[in-house]
Symmetry: C2
Subunit: 395 residues, 2 copies
């Protein structure tokens, strides 16, 4: 059987999924709920930052020309506190006590810091003069009114959120997250925590896909697990395609007699194909009711590798998150790999070298937990030596 290349299958998934995720639109979130999200549109500041000319220090607001001959004694005309609704006016030949962040009194053009002065009764001895503008923060010196607090596409880090808050923005327009339905299938799969009969295995794919989706900036819907019952799976699928932007299935697309996903999806126009990839050879792709359905094989390593290689880039792009790129590092050990399959080995980077963790088999779900990267062995490569360059994709 001719196997489709990974790149070709990835392109076919992209052709179906990327347009479906392109129109996710915008939602408005309070700042406190927006960390890690991405601005859907540019947000500008209604106010300049700082909003008004203010003092950078606790000290004495003065006229630079009047304190140039310091040391000298000047009368204190009062106090300018922070939060004052109107600035006071500095009388000629005097100073006003001023707090950090308080409006600069009208007429003042510098601040003498508290450590450069000594109070003497109702006066203050200015020990050192200051130039015009010293310790004064001009209105708009951080950001003019109307300027951009966050461009479209900005990731909402703590410091970006702080800037938005400083600009008075309480709610931000962020890209809506893709709603993704997860359907895991298999007569043998059982929810973790339930008793396990002979012949049954615990469902790792639901847990893996939900967590992978969250990491990729998507919003997993409550997952659904079905046995190899086409009616049950079809019912779950028909709900999923109505409520989700994307449906992911695991299992049921191989060559056995009870391939529930294949049985239900093929009459709905799915292509169920073998791709030249290990793990993750069997793959399915459909559009059901206008919603893309991506079918991954049921082995838990196959499911995770398929997601990382085929869907994660699309979901991160839709969410506005930066791509996770492969890098090239030297291989720590020699490797053999089957001809005609692009193999994704689980591995770690140790002292700068990529080293496989466990074997290539797709059932090694416990072993995969210790991996940090996938080692990408091209389809036409059957042997690599220690020190050879290899592409590694962070998990």
């Amino acid at each position: 059987m001719a196997r489709r290349s990974v790149d070709e299958h990835a392109a076919r998934i992209a052709a179906l999924v990327a347009p479906a995720l392109a129109g996710l639109g915008t939602e408005l979130l309070p700042l406190a709920a927006a960390r890690g999200r991405v601005l859907a549109e540019e947000v500008t500041s209604a106010v300049p930052l700082p909003p008004f000319r203010n003092s950078q220090m606790d000290g004495w607001a003065a006229r630079a020309a009047e304190v140039a001959d310091a040391p000298l004694l000047l009368p204190v005309a009062g106090v300018q506190a922070a939060g004052a609704a109107t600035p006071r006016t500095l009388p000629p030949g005097a100073v006003l006590k001023v707090m950090t962040g308080a409006p600069l009194p009208d007429g003042a053009d510098c601040v003498v810091p508290v450590e450069d002065a000594e109070a003497e009764g109702d006066s203050v001895r200015i020990l050192r003069g200051r130039a015009p503008g010293e310790f004064v923060r001009e209105a708009g010196s951080d950001l003019p009114a109307g300027a951009v607090l966050g461009p479209a596409g900005a990731l909402l880090t703590p410091r970006r959120l702080a800037a938005l808050a400083a600009g008075g923005v309480a709610e931000v327009p962020v890209r809506r997250r893709a709603r993704v339905a997860v359907l895991t299938t298999g007569e043998e799969i059982v929810a973790p925590g339930r008793p396990l009969a002979f012949g049954q295995v615990y469902d790792a794919n639901e847990t893996a896909l939900v967590a992978l989706l969250q990491e990729a900036g998507a919003d997993p819907l409550p997952p659904i697990r079905t046995p190899d019952d086409p009616a049950a799976f079809a019912a779950a699928l028909d709900v999923a395609v109505r409520v989700a932007d994307l449906v992911i299935t695991s299992g049921g697309i191989s060559h056995g007699d009870f391939e529930v996903v294949r049985q239900v999806l093929e009459p709905r126009g799915a292509e169920v194909v073998e791709i030249a990839m290990q793990p993750g050879g069997p793959q399915a792709l459909a559009s059901v009711g206008g919603t893309p359905v991506v079918g991954f094989p049921g082995n838990p390593v196959s499911t995770q590798v398929s997601f990382v290689v085929l869907l994660r880039p699309l979901l991160r792009a839709a969410a506005g998150l930066p791509p996770i790129d492969a890098s090239i590092v030297p291989l720590g050990v020699a490797l053999a790999s089957p001809a005609g399959r692009r193999q994704w080995l689980r591995g770690r980077i140790e002292t700068g070298r990529a080293t496989p963790v466990g074997g290539p088999s797709s059932h090694l779900v416990a072993t995969m937990a210790d991996a940090d990267v996938l080692l990408d062995v091209p389809a036409d490569v059957e042997r690599l030596e220690a020190g050879d360059p290899i592409a590694v994709l962070p998990l």
Copy 2:
């Protein structure tokens, strides 16, 4: 005034905060709520993985010795489906159809993949023999029963969660997150979204501290904002120290007349000190009712830098998250820095060189949003040239 060094103040904070966060204890979470958390204790698998000997392929379960002379025709004795409660027994001189993941029939020792055989009525023509063990997954070949699914301290990545699910674990013991109270103060600060009168500024520190705490693996309690009213602040503080593992305040610790945090904390034994750091010079530290209270200055850049430099390492360590380490890169431009202060400039890494973003002033909260790192200019350095090595701390 002698200024305390950053390292000394960090050590004093650590001496107070680290013990308070050392006894956070454990909470039990369902897998679906545990992503990004850290295992509080080792978790082992009650079952071997895989739980039973099973087929790696859709194909024909056989005895290797009986298919060694392939091609040959063998009768099909039935089907072994996945999810079967008992394995079938393979009669001598026959094969059983077997699905991926199905128990290997008793007596079988290899699987002939579906692509290496052709069905002929009630028989199948085996085109290629297989050695004992081929396409058979032995019980426990991924993980023996009782072995470790996740060590204490393991970060719960999607793949670690998948391994735990595969082992049947439905709930995991994770480190409880530190509950941290955030109290922002200032007569002039207003919640984003509210109208801004002259002399007022929007509170960026609440938003920043909540988001920074979440990123550092802590659990921020609903934040409280108070004006410069000692009674209001004292009331908020007294609640906070009862419900939180740690209290962070911003503002009110400088030399002005309305320093609410200083006024309330000093009678409770706080030290309010100047440290040789810019931004972030004024700092306060107290233990109130046995709860550490860390007081940061109110300028929004000072608050964020203080958190990143002084508290983030302690919170990440308490959460079991890996440290965020500084690295050394060449400086992109020449820099001047005040003597006697360790200066943390906001910057970016561009083409491998650290370049400041905006000026050093602590009110530049909008500008800080564009920074990725802090440039760490030592206290005794007044001038650096382009190309000089500088330590940068990721934000």
